[in-house]
């Protein structure tokens, strides 16, 4: 164990405290402002009220945007889960030509600037697919999201598979299980927690995505982050935005919490 002097410990604590303060004070202000009676965010808050919460609950554009976000994130998560798992199995089980390249190609989309991804997809859709008579529309947005979500599932599942005892699959076959039975009864239970953690992260990543969404959302369709971005430009709606943002903060805690729990459960299993 590293031992620090009293002074150093205090200094470190102060630095950590400051960083946490900078990270979370803005969120805290935002949450408080969602209870601000005034139409414009401000500090100090003069009158508290739940008026904007009631307004937001029945405001159709918000409901539509939320539904879109959930649909897109769910779709992207499903694609990413299937493809990410398949890639992980290919990388784990086979040593094929171009293996390293495939690895980079899978990880690259998360590192690419969203603007680049967005422009690329937008161009492909409007300049190639639409002229070819194939209007990809809403589905295109899901596909675009899936590209950078795959890596979440891939990384989690691949790391788990690499630590898995290869004898387990042989033991299963030895005891009479066919390939599908072995996958269902032995292999999948071995990586299901990583799989779920990866899928949740993929969902969260897609849910709050803005840049790629701007380029790929069909006209007139807003996801929640997109709607917020538009409304922030109109100062008279600021408080409604705060309400929505607060909801998003609370919602995004759920997948983070669950995925951490899963990761921990998995460590105990081993």
């Amino acid at each position: 164990m590293l031992r620090l002097s009293r002074g150093a410990r205090l200094a470190l604590m102060a630095i950590v405290g400051l960083i946490l303060l900078f990270m979370y004070v803005p969120l805290f202000v935002l949450i408080l402002n969602s209870f601000n009676e005034s139409q414009i965010s401000g500090w100090p808050i003069k009158n508290f009220s739940t008026k904007w919460w009631a307004f937001a609950r029945n405001y159709q554009p918000i409901r539509d945007a939320l539904l879109n976000s959930v649909l897109v994130a769910t779709g992207a998560m499903i694609f990413a889960s299937i493809l990410g798992t398949l890639v992980a199995f290919a990388m784990k089980g086979f040593n094929f030509f171009g293996r390293g390249t495939v690895n980079i190609l899978v990880v690259l989309p998360i590192a690419l600037p969203g603007v680049v991804t967005g422009v690329a997809f937008s161009n492909t859709y409007s300049n190639f697919l639409t002229p070819a008579g194939f209007n990809i529309g809403y589905f295109g947005m899901i596909v675009a999201h899936a590209t950078f979500c795959i890596v979440m599932v891939f990384n989690n599942v691949f790391a788990r598979l690499r630590r898995m005892n290869p004898n387990l699959q042989e033991a299963s076959a030895d005891l009479g299980a066919g390939l599908w039975q072995t996958f269902r009864l032995v292999t999948f239970p071995q990586f299901r927690t990583s799989f779920a953690a990866g899928a949740l992260l993929a969902f969260a990543l897609s849910f709050d995505e803005v840049v790629v969404t701007i380029f790929t959302a069909p006209p007139g369709i807003d996801t929640l982050p997109l709607w917020i971005l538009k409304e922030v430009g109109r100062p008279n709606q600021a408080s409604v935005v705060n309400v929505v943002a607060t909801v998003v903060i609370l919602l995004s805690l759920i997948p983070v919490y669950i995925s951490q729990r899963l990761t921990r459960a998995q460590e105990h299993e081993r």
């Binding site: 005891l175 039975q181 009864l185 299993e269």
Partner: protein, 352 residues
């Protein structure tokens, strides 16, 4: 017809030859051990019988049926793995039931059979535990129960005792042997531990560099080693070749004599009929409790190891110190002649 017949099995991994024309018959109900140093091909042969590897050439038959290209799940053989390979997310009961489940045995019946198998290895109290809550010896027993519950024709054991400490290992050796004898199942056991092999096996197959060096009962392979490798690998041996063999042992072949068959006597000793005595000088003497180990040099410059049992209390034995002039004495019948190395004479079908 033997229960398992291997015919001309060859298997390479890249440039490494793991099995080189292995031909072997395994009889029903026998405890046969594949013994050899690591990398000698014994595990590869076991994996080929299990179906985890396909041989490059040759055939495997079980009960007269060619199973060379059958997948593991279609073979009536089961394996106990070196690391046990228990399913970590399943209880002991579910682990043992697994093979019955894949065979679609009704639920009540398989639960009953699994309980019996677990009881047979004396682990009823641990039936609901997960593998990581068991000790090494307990895991070993469950792995055995999981395989035995299926009543396979052949049980393959890949160094199953390798991870256990010495005392537990010896207990398990006795237990395995008892289980095998009572169930009458053929055991094919892989180990690199020659003592373990001799203690447990009906027959031993000695592997070296992918080839079968010799097959025989523990006594046969120990007393009449077929190759120089076998003589050196199983126990200690004095191996003498060529001109020196002729001079000292009066043989033209390569000869091997075990250290415990040699005795040391004072120079005044007169040899009995059939005995041969050669003058030598003690180089080293090491007292190791039950025995004293000597290294002596004969006048012809042959170095011999001698293990002398300390049957008498101190002062009553013939004990010697380095520098002593002695006679190394043996009986002619204790000399084992090693046939000329066979591998250089013919390439194929040599062990049939």
């Amino acid at each position: 017809m033997a229960l398992v017949e291997l015919r001309g099995i060859c298997k390479s991994f890249g440039t490494v030859t793991a099995a080189d024309n292995v031909t072997l018959d395994i009889e029903s109900g026998e405890f046969i051990t594949l013994l050899g140093p690591s990398g000698s091909g014994k595990t590869t042969v076991l994996r080929i019988i299990a179906g985890f590897e396909e041989p490059d050439a040759g055939t495997v038959t079980l009960n007269g049926v060619d199973i060379t290209h059958l997948p593991p799940f279609d073979r009536d053989v089961n394996t106990v793995f070196q690391d046990y390979a228990l399913f970590p997310h399943m209880s002991v009961q579910d682990n043992v039931e697994y093979g019955l489940r894949t065979r679609k045995v009704p639920k009540a019946q398989r639960a009953q059979q699994a309980r019996e198998a677990i009881a047979a290895v004396k682990l009823e109290h641990a039936i609901d535990r997960l593998p990581h809550q068991l000790s090494g010896g307990q895991r070993q027993r469950i792995a055995l129960a999981r395989a035995m519950v299926l009543r396979p024709k052949v049980l393959l054991l890949d160094e199953p005792l390798g991870a256990l400490d010495r005392q537990l290992r010896e207990e398990m050796q006795v237990e395995l042997k008892t289980v095998q004898r009572e169930a009458g199942i053929t055991f094919i056991f892989v180990t690199h531990d020659q003592e373990e092999a001799m203690r447990m096996s009906d027959r031993i197959v000695i592997f070296n560099e992918g080839r079968v060096e010799q097959v025989g009962t523990p006594e046969e392979v120990y007393e009449r080693p077929a190759t120089r490798f076998v003589a050196g690998f199983l126990g200690a041996s004095n191996i003498v070749t060529g001109e020196l063999a002729r001079k000292i042992f009066g043989r033209t072949a390569t000869v091997s004599i075990r250290p415990e068959r040699l005795r040391l006597q004072p120079v005044a000793y007169s040899a009995a009929t059939g005995e041969i005595a050669v003058a030598a000088t003690v180089k080293e003497a090491a007292f190791v409790g039950a025995n004293t180990l000597y290294i002596v040099d004969t006048e012809d410059g042959v170095r011999l190891s001698i293990s002398s049992t300390n049957t008498q209390s101190p002062g009553h034995d013939n004990r010697f110190a380095p520098g002593d002039r002695v006679l190394a004495v043996w009986h002619d019948r204790h000399i084992a002649e090693i046939p000329a190395e066979r591998r250089h004479t013919s390439a194929r079908g040599k062990y049939e």
